[in-house]
């Protein structure tokens, strides 16, 4: 009898590899999910409220009602992701129980634990986690994350933090590749990561799992910018369904991610998209209302 293995790190991280070069879109109901699928999204993130509304509403942001998520799962054939609060392993258990394809342990929701993240190795379902730099990314991977996304600053439509975080990751990897081997132990201690993961990153010259950009992407040019900076794909949260013409904008961003190195195509797909989401400059947000610094 042949051994059949499920829930391995290979099938978890392998799923993220299938999403590469794609756009994952935030949706709040089945109708939006179908629009996203039609626009060419590789997956949808099922939410009760998009980050821009979470930011505006304030209060405690929790896991979405499983009935809403299930309704979205039933409406599309592409993978469906959902968010749990940082450290809230029971929300993660609930999401796994309804058969979600990917869990985002997300700083966009109010953290449930300010010290520990979910021990993601215990789950059959894969997790994606946010990072602002390489140390944060490798700490999440050692906890079992099978995919990483830069945090950016969700719900702003301001790409500046996503750029900052992607550059920080890429700079750290370049630095690592030029570092003599005898300095790696100290670097591992400085980043608070294992020497093994650090060495693997140095040898491969990239993050050990797929790394998407997120948090502030609102236009095709934003998406292509993140791809040219080294992202494997892009999450678009509020940027699509808070804009004037979500179907058209979603379709344009999907094309921009495929043809991110072709300015002529980028120019074509950027035309006549209607109103983008109304942004908030990250600079204008009080420090204590920023989402990215939560639980590092």
């Amino acid at each position: 009898m042949v051994d059949v293995l499920t829930g391995t790190f290979t099938v978890k991280s392998g799923h993220a590899q299938m999403l590469k070069g794609g756009v994952i879109m935030d949706v709040v109901n089945a109708e939006q999910a179908m629009i996203a699928q039609e626009a060419g999204a590789v997956a949808v993130m099922a939410l009760e409220r998009v980050p821009a509304d979470i930011r505006a509403d304030g209060g405690v942001a929790r896991m979405t009602d499983p009935a809403i998520i299930q309704n979205i799962m039933d409406s599309v054939s592409i993978p469906v992701m959902a968010k749990c609060r940082i450290g809230h392993f029971v929300e993660a258990q609930v999401l796994e129980a309804i058969g979600i394809d990917y869990i985002d342990e997300s700083e966009v929701l109010t953290p449930a634990d300010e010290v520990h993240h979910v021990w993601k190795h215990d789950f059959q379902v894969p997790f994606v986690c946010g990072c602002r730099d390489l140390g944060e990314a490798l700490r999440r991977i050692s906890e079992g994350a099978a995919m990483i996304r830069t945090k950016g600053e969700a719900g702003t439509g301001d790409v500046v933090e996503a750029v900052r975080h992607m550059r920080a990751v890429q700079d750290a990897i370049r630095k690592l590749q030029n570092m003599p081997e005898d300095e790696l132990v100290v670097e591992a201690r400085n980043l608070a990561v294992s020497l093994e993961l650090l060495t693997q990153t140095r040898e491969e010259g990239r993050m050990p799992v797929v790394n998407f950009a997120a948090g502030g992407v609102a236009t095709p040019a934003d998406a292509a910018l993140m791809m040219q900076l080294g992202a494997d794909g892009v999450f678009v949260g509020s940027g699509i369904f808070k804009s004037g013409d979500p179907a058209q904008r979603g379709y344009a961003i999907v094309q921009a991610v495929t043809h991110y190195n072709d300015p002529k195509i980028l120019a074509d797909v950027s035309k006549d998209l209607g109103e983008p989401m109304v942004g908030i400059s990250t600079r204008s947000i009080p420090q204590e209302e920023l989402l990215a610094p939560r639980s590092i």
Partner: protein, 199 residues
């Protein structure tokens, strides 16, 4: 010999990494004119609805159908298998109808049902192949001219070949095993046979 890898979405970089290890010249294909000077094409794993949309927008369908019918080798892995099928069990996406197979998407369930196992593959040496199935499709109908290369324990076909065309429901590009890529390169190097001419 140059091999193209369809790079509109999916794990094309993983295929290219294996081809480079085999010292093969390769090209990322995003636009139809890039197909002119390749001897074979790999359609990678990815999201089949997305691949299908992007192939339509950039007019890639007909050139891929033409090259397959002209006898050039084409290999689809997972989403690529779905694209090569004659028919699929859902209305969406629209396949290229190049191989005489019927395919079911997400045949094993959702992501938590994704799995890996050893597989015996006809045409390779006797060592089993480590096969990784991610939200994988399965071949429901195998046409007369199609040869089944591998099945699961329950008999479902997961690797098939029809002349110059091949399809696998799993992802050799996620392993270190180059044997199926070598098998495909041998197909691409063989004299043109034309789709459906048998093996």
């Amino acid at each position: 010999m140059r091999i193209g890898v369809l790079a509109v979405q999916g794990d094309f970089a993983e295929h290219i990494a294996i081809l480079r290890r085999l010292n093969v010249d390769c090209l990322e294909v995003r636009l139809p004119e890039q197909l002119d000077d390749v001897s074979g094409l790999i359609i990678p794993g990815g999201e089949s609805t997305t691949l299908s949309r992007l192939m339509s927008i950039y007019n890639l369908r007909e050139p891929v159908q033409d090259m397959a019918r002209a006898g050039k080798a084409v290999w689809g892995t997972c989403a690529g298998m779905i694209m090569l099928a004659h028919e699929i069990t859902e209305a969406d996406p629209v396949p290229l109808q190049l191989m005489d197979i019927g395919v079911r998407r997400n045949a094993f369930g959702r992501q938590i049902d994704s799995f890996e196992q050893e597989l015996d593959i006809a045409g390779l040496d006797s060592r089993p192949f480590h096969a990784i199935f991610i939200r994988a499709p399965v071949v429901m109908r195998v046409g007369d001219k199609v040869k089944t290369l591998a099945t699961l324990a329950d008999g479902q076909a997961v690797a098939v070949r029809q002349g110059n065309l091949m399809a696998t429901a799993f992802h050799p590009e996620l392993t270190r095993d180059t044997r199926l890529h070598q098998y495909f390169l041998d197909l691409a190097a063989a004299p043109a046979g034309g789709a459906g001419r048998g093996s």
